[in-house]
Symmetry: C2
Amino acid sequence: MSGQAPHPALMIPGPIEFDDAVLQAMSHYSESHVGAPFVATFGETLSLLRKLFQTTNPASQPFVISGSGTLGWDQVAANLTEPGEEALVLHTGYFGDSFADCFETYSVRATQLKAPIGDRPQLPEIEAALSEKKYAVVTVTHVDTSTGVLSELPDLARMVRRVSPDTLIVVDGVCSVGCEEIAFDEWDLDVVLTASQKAVGVPAGLSILMASGRAMEKFKARKTPPTSYFASWKNWLPIMQNYEAKKPSYFATPSPQLIHALHTSLAQILARPLATRFAEHKAASRKIKDAVQALGLRQLAEKPENQANGMTAIYLPDGLTPPEVLPNLLKKGVIFAGGLHKEIATKYVRFGHMGVSVTDPARNDVDKAVAALREALGEVGYKAP
Amino acid sequence: MSGQAPHPALMIPGPIEFDDAVLQAMSHYSESHVGAPFVATFGETLSLLRKLFQTTNPASQPFVISGSGTLGWDQVAANLTEPGEEALVLHTGYFGDSFADCFETYSVRATQLKAPIGDRPQLPEIEAALSEKKYAVVTVTHVDTSTGVLSELPDLARMVRRVSPDTLIVVDGVCSVGCEEIAFDEWDLDVVLTASQKAVGVPAGLSILMASGRAMEKFKARKTPPTSYFASWKNWLPIMQNYEAKKPSYFATPSPQLIHALHTSLAQILARPLATRFAEHKAASRKIKDAVQALGLRQLAEKPENQANGMTAIYLPDGLTPPEVLPNLLKKGVIFAGGLHKEIATKYVRFGHMGVSVTDPARNDVDKAVAALREALGEVGYKAP
């Protein structure tokens, strides 16, 4: 049972449904951003993030800054690359284009390696690209929210480290952190960036990022200053280090309420083994993907190894568009998202299955959403094969 | 009566105490950022901001972006100045230095006009500076949170327009919007930027900005692209225009909960005449400054015309430092802030009096804070003259 006002189940790939205790933390009474109680909460939150990312290396550095997930791209482009350097952007949908735009804004040349819709760039072509020239960073969207394509990280990271040891491996984990396995140390990643409103389970408004010791060394060895002010680690690094050491510190005012909500959600997530959480997301995803197949529908990500576990991007039956289906779903109390990949936006819908909708046995969100999809399609005349 | 858990009264110059209904809005159930209900709320919020800033000119453009108030500086430097241009920064404390740093980050040369601590640059010297070279922008901190110094805007704006008609007038209103009179159109301002957690009465996490038609023309006439990605109006302008027209639109995910809280607070503020609100802040400030004087204490801002109405920066009696006074205040249920101006940080405290602590007759925050200050000083042996 939820203490929230009655509302449709938000089954989009973020924002997701939030736990009552997390929403309650959003109403925390006002605190000083430099007072001992809030400094302790923020400090603990940063330490909890190390556990979420499975990093025990003290050189790893977490950042939590007010902003959207997009701010994570600025953090990378402004702090880890210098004007004139090169970035290799692995493209699995909308978010590759945007990350490339972000690099170009900071005078970093972005080369995109594009896969066909629903697929991801393959290791041999990535290796060939890395061998051609020196890239400061390679970026990969772990789960592309526009296509539901899951990238494979461990083999990719191993190959990059072998072929181009100095290239930083940057993971856009906005739609994966908290629902897909990420072993930051073991996989030898350099940056994983995310946002609060997806599988981390907290309302939007926080850019969350983990940087490796290697990334921080590259940052400290910059020849030119960071090219953003608000996203500058020169400004934020001492603040994050001080908060984690429980010392007050000021650059720009953080959001105590959002930090309390993040603290609450991380404590809930980490109260159980992460492996259990990931297995639950896999099981829910399997069930949904089986139901989609039984309905005779195709996913954008056709190959099973390309399929994300926290969302499913589903082609509508021929001739149907999201505006013909989504309002019917809403009448049944379920919200899906329309398409986002510009070439095919009118042909598919996106179904998010992350966080409490998957892990809270008291909720019935996933089954309700699957049933609603089946009924909504039936009502517009679609017959499953 | 407040529905919040018992807690000390937060009487610092931001974050401030929040109204129950605003905190309740922070717990709003999860909504899609592109769904009709939230789009309507965001759109109305943008329209309400026009009223708060007293602008009816349709060319004025509001922006609300997830971030700290500091992000407003990046918005100005990245969108309204181009590399190589010049900014004149009127300095009344800590925040002038920081804004100048921000400009330099974006390759804009910042010239600071510094006043002695507690004072503000005077019109004749500002006029002389503006006559010397061409400045793209002149920035003024309306109330400097580090010193409690209030700048005078109407005469300044008139003089700038006369001496250097193309120079954009940028007001840092982080500590003034919502408690000091700002007539955006009438005073012919170009940018007023603020944050949510001060007199706007909403938890931290939103950068709020109003730009004039003149500023938007300058932006549109840029020869080079904006030099930030997350703060780029190229990315945000269509989003803000669409939301205000109640059309869904996506660049980066906004925070529905913070926007609901902002909507709630603006509706409360605008339910009464703004003049009443400003008068109440003036009256509370007068009472506090009289009490400070009766205690035999000096303000950083000695001249009455330099004194902010939403905060008071108070020199401690000789030999006393904030760590000797603030814990005593906390025991009495009141939180003040220590000094922030680096040259004299150990010699003064800051007392914020904005928002519901001033306007809600059911609260007793101001009187309680004044009494606590008097008692706390008495307990460490200080005798008022």
